[in-house]
């Protein structure tokens, strides 16, 4: 992927609002055909970054280019060639699926004839075939997201910006949407995507964590898990998880700092206990749980999930800030 030409880059991109720095010296590059994930908590600066890349907002300082066009001077050229699905993409709820698609295609100056041809293909691609005449008002949330994506694809963009495209979308539709994203990338479309689903982040070729406007880590999902996290993760499978969680948290709080776990969290039906030497504390954790009558079926060190990495990163930044 790195050998592919660069389709987007920023250099020290910065945006101030009054006294608030929304984006702080962000430098990144996305190669052709790459799926690049931008992760970070709400308010970290992801959407502001995307808005600058689209030329909707001008940077306070720094520069950037998309498909070779400058984000400040040549924003028009960029917008012609990219697709953008925002968190609140405006579809016309009184219009049908086909009418919405045609409307957005029209905005991009595509002829009716071409649109009619593409519509069938793109609606099939996003799983909305046969729904041409359904009014948007009658579509469920996930289907609306897919229609929004279809509209953003009507002009066959070379670069796609997806801002939380799967928020509130059910697991099956999410998989379908990601299959589509893979297909588009394989055909050479470059994609910048933000998401709060860490299992989706695994699907990206490369990731960046943004926090308080700054890019705090970057790499492939694999690199992130190997390098970005100094701490160890122990996964505990036990019954009565609520009690187990409370007991481990209380014991960790009572222990001197660094002597048990820094973070104890529920991960689905399992517990993740995180700390610099978490693996060493497995026997102690078992004792604590057994004393509370919790039966432990397994407790083992694991490769951290991206969610563990994400949370550990943010916590360590917070603790150095305070």
């Amino acid at each position: 992927m790195d050998s592919n030409p660069i389709s987007l880059f920023t250099e020290n991109l910065t945006k101030h609002f009054d006294h608030f720095t929304a984006v702080d010296n962000v430098s990144l590059a996305v190669h052709r055909g790459e799926i690049y994930g931008l992760l970070g908590p709400n308010g970290a600066g992801k959407t502001t970054t995307i808005r600058m890349l689209l030329g909707l907002l001008s940077p306070t300082s720094g520069r950037g280019a998309v498909l070779g066009f400058d984000i400040v001077k040549e924003a028009e050229e960029i917008r012609k060639r990219v697709g953008y699905v925002s968190q609140k993409f405006s579809l016309y709820s009184d219009l049908t699926v086909a009418e919405n698609f045609n409307f957005y295609g029209g905005v991009y100056g595509i002829t009716r004839q071409t649109l009619a041809l593409r519509r069938a293909e793109i609606l099939r691609l996003v799983g909305l075939d046969g729904q041409d005449d359904t009014r948007v008002a009658n579509l469920a949330g996930g289907s609306r997201q897919r229609l929004a994506l279809a509209c953003a694809l009507s002009h066959q963009p070379e670069f796609l910006f997806l801002d939380e495209p799967t928020a509130g979308v059910d697991p099956l539709s999410r998989r379908a949407l990601w299959d589509l994203i893979y297909d588009l990338a394989a055909r050479g479309t470059s994609i910048l995507v933000t998401t709060h689903y860490m299992d989706e982040a695994e699907n990206c070729h490369r990731l960046a964590f943004i926090y308080q406007g700054r890019l705090v880590a970057e790499g492939t999902p694999h690199e992130m898990k190997e390098q970005a996290m100094a701490a160890q993760v122990v996964e505990i499978d036990c019954d009565n998880v609520d009690a187990a969680l409370a007991a481990l948290r209380a014991a960790s709080q009572d222990a001197p700092p660094g002597h048990l776990f820094d973070e104890v969290a529920l991960y689905g039906s399992l517990i993740h206990a995180i700390g610099a030497h978490a693996a060493e504390h497995i026997p102690r954790a078992r004792e604590i749980l057994e004393a509370k009558g919790v039966s432990v079926s397994s407790a083992e060190p694991i490769v951290p999930s991206l969610e563990d990495v994400f949370i550990a990163r943010l916590r360590s930044i917070d603790s150095t800030n305070h």
Binding site: P41, N42, G43, G141, G142, L172, R175, L266, G268, S269
Partner: protein, 322 residues
Amino acid sequence: MISIDHLTKQFDTTVAVKNLSLDIQPGEVFGLIGPDGAGKTTTLRVISTAMNPTTGRVSVSGIDTGRDPEAVKQIIGYMPQRFALYPDLTVIENLNFFADVFGSPRAQRAELTERLLRFAHLTEFQARLARNLSGGMQKKLALAATLMHRPRVLLLDEPTTGVDPVSRREFWDLLTEIHLEGVTIVITTPYLDEAERCTRVGLMYRGELIACDTPGKLRAEIGAVVLEAQSAQALAARRAMEASEGVLTVSTHGDLLRLLVDRAERQAALEAAWRAAGIDVQNVRVVKPRLEDAFVLLLTDDGRRRTEKENSVIGRPSSVEK
């Protein structure tokens, strides 16, 4: 605590909820999951008395929602997907406003407000305008507002959609506290790791409840074996397996492959097939099923056919439309 008896809700030509019967016990955290448009939100709206059933009955704590909606409203707290906080009011003003709307007793209000602020970790932000809160904080404020009249039943419609992983964990910590106080919770969520934390989960599809059980049982009785494997060519490895005998579904998550197969013995044949195709796949192993696997199996065509043929390994026989 909540009794739903042959509930049907029809809009024009769409049947949103079809003959749904379900009893939710006091103290449960009941998760409603299902694809977009399955009828989850409509079900919550009927329980909340915001909507009347077309046919059938719903009662909360023995009170019929159609006959005495005012009495039901006293008992329940309903947080819709887009909870309307007042952006121009401060945190504390919002809480006081909702206390008035819900008619919470004035005598204990100051104490309750203080307690809920502390509970939602919003005490230090009480003078901040709601519009200046992050997404996660807005959700916590909405939850606090919903609790201002001390409801015994909490109805939450996708409360964590669009919320980052850190805030999502914090939100669930709050729900655990509420649960431990004995409040009955009904929650819809697109995150199946959240559904794992529920006491019971109901899977809705096209208005019907097609499975309903504890997460543990749903996972244990999926009638399939889950294999995981690693491959740098995960996509190729997946394509090679999609049509293989005994393979129910394959998904890729970065370099991770996840396969649902009908029996564990398939593993050897799969590994041989990958070798024959020259695809390097490593570390193939049987792993524990997740709720997402159950969800996918129940909702894919294969799963539907299988469940019908075997007359259901899951609680209820499915009667899904063809």
